[in-house]
Symmetry: C2
């Protein structure tokens, strides 16, 4: 059996997460039992939600247990199988965690899914045609539910969720304005992802300044917003929201290290008769087939070509993850393990 390098959560962050929270170990992969499959991971997904699970506090998911392999989505190839539904060579999506190999109980439904790599690159099943894409789809379709000609905004616009959101919104005839960190990301959002405009929040370090930029980019006001960041970005959106605007609240990455992140003026929710709804896409498994179908078609027809930031080797995962939390990635953050 091959050796398997793993990253464990060694201790919980005190404030900001650091590389020392993780520990790299090497173990033997076990013998398979009936029904099991050994998967060699090609890519490991790094996602902002993982930061929340590193804390031992109330959240929508159980905390990541200490001393165990960091959990996370993976794509890879079946290299051994004692399950008749999976053959060696099958490409699969699973939740294998931060390690080079995983043993999957493939007879349990939903644990492992075979995917087609003829029209969609394998890594995209962790991004545009995976959980981040479905997250964008759910917030747009089920919460914001825009009419044609609506003006929509999204923070972290060039990330895995943001790039999918942009393509999905354009397909519905909406004006879509991104918020991202830095001129390179903003240029990329407009020139490659097809956003109608993109605001560099680093040029607007408070809600007042950002809301002025939003006024210029959204002359008809904001009808719907997808929030990944929180803090003063959300305050600025509320200042430009139209009556009956909807906010899909998906992440508040600005607060993951424990800073207090108050909302300055919630009275605007009332004045504008807004709806703000928090969600996590794993609560809504029923929408995945419909969402993945649309996302796969957007990729296959070239309408969604998201960028990826790829770190090489399991040992690079902690630094890549910490960079993601600081917005250093450009598009979907992955770790390549082959």
């Amino acid at each position: 059996m091959p050796a398997n390098r793993q990253l464990l959560l060694d201790n919980r962050p005190k404030g900001e997460a650091v590389a020392g929270n993780f520990r790299l170990v090497s173990v033997e992969t076990p013998e398979l039992e009936d029904g099991q499959v050994l998967v060699r991971h090609h890519y490991l997904s790094l996602d902002p939600y993982m930061r929340g699970r590193m804390n031992d506090s109330k959240s929508y998911a159980q905390p990541q247990p200490l001393g165990q392999v960091m959990q996370g989505a993976t794509v890879g190839e079946v290299v051994e199988s004692r399950n008749p539904r999976f053959a060696v060579g099958d490409k699969v999506v699973g939740f294998g965690g931060w390690q080079e190999y995983s043993v999957a109980d493939a007879s349990q439904p939903g644990v492992l899914r075979k995917v087609d790599t003829a029209h969609v690159p394998l890594s995209y099943y962790l991004g545009a045609v995976g959980m981040p894409g479905v997250t964008a789809w759910y917030g747009l379709v089920k919460i914001i539910a825009p009419g044609k000609d609506s003006t929509l905004t999204i923070s972290a616009a060039t990330g895995a969720v943001g790039s999918a959101f942009g393509a999905l919104a354009r397909a519905r005839g909406c004006r879509v304005v991104g918020i991202a960190g830095g001129p390179d990301k903003c240029r990329y959002a407009v020139e490659e992802l097809g956003f109608d405009a993109c605001i560099d929040h680093r040029q607007h370090p408070d809600a007042r300044s950002l809301s002025q930029a939003l006024k210029e980019a959204c002359p008809a006001g904001i009808d719907g917003h997808f929030e990944n960041v929180g803090g003063y970005l959300l305050d600025a959106i509320l200042l430009r929201a139209n009556a009956f605007a909807r906010v899909a609240l998906c992440g508040m990455i600005a607060g993951y290290d424990g800073q207090p992140l108050p909302m300055a003026n919630p009275a605007l929710i009332l004045i504008n008769r807004m709806k703000i709804e928090g969600f996590i896409v794993s609560d809504h498994m029923e929408v995945w087939p419909e969402a993945l179908q649309e996302l796969g078609t957007l990729v296959a027809t070239g309408k969604l070509r998201p960028r990826e930031s790829i770190a090489q080797g399991i040992e690079s995962a902690p630094e890549a993850f910490l960079g993601l939390l600081k917005g250093r990635n450009f598009g979907k953050q992955l770790v390549r393990l082959i």
Copy 2:
């Protein structure tokens, strides 16, 4: 024609509203034109939303114009009519404003509505079977949409909206916990309005203390909340909200004088996958008939017997209104004009 005493908005509040913002004048009632009706007001409704309209700032309604009669709902009796649909003696609900008489263009739909006073006291059409009742109904039925056995909470529980909310929630089999100011109101909420429990927020001057009291009163957590007050009350609710809890945001009376009212931890909206929705009942005229039907039945069958605070005479309206903003009223605040 009778003399008509009126209260005008003389100047806008700087911070807290004061009696000097209003001016009492006396005018002659004009001759009626064809289609018009002269109504003698029996009761004038005082409502928290009026405070917002005294400011000259963006809100869901146009500001109250300076130098004009304060706007507001009224019930009264037709004393002259040049409209074939209304006869002298008809009891009517309208939007006559802070004055003793009003001339209504009764041919326009919705301006004046005849009401039955055989089963429902006339004044109730300004409260339980009027705008406040429909407000409670909309927030409960259309936003919170509780299941049986849900635990619901409401601030300003003994007011016109709160008392209707309690009766409507009990009719749906919910546990309903009020928040009110002072032991008398809390006793009244439980003993007369049928709340399962009531918390005196004066005993809990911060979110931490109030949330502890909520934990005791709501051992299964909070599934739905109706907010009239805002500020630390809402912060405390968020700390006890269950997954998928819904908040109907109807008023933030704590912020009407311009104090900043931040929300301490909006990340809880995400963690609990909550929905927070602001609304104003006049956006939803389509629900009024259904809501009034249910509210009228609750009153007629004795299941909703709200208390009223009644000030006497038009000249008492400013002080009664300022008292309402400070929670000095007990139940629906009215001014009797006969």
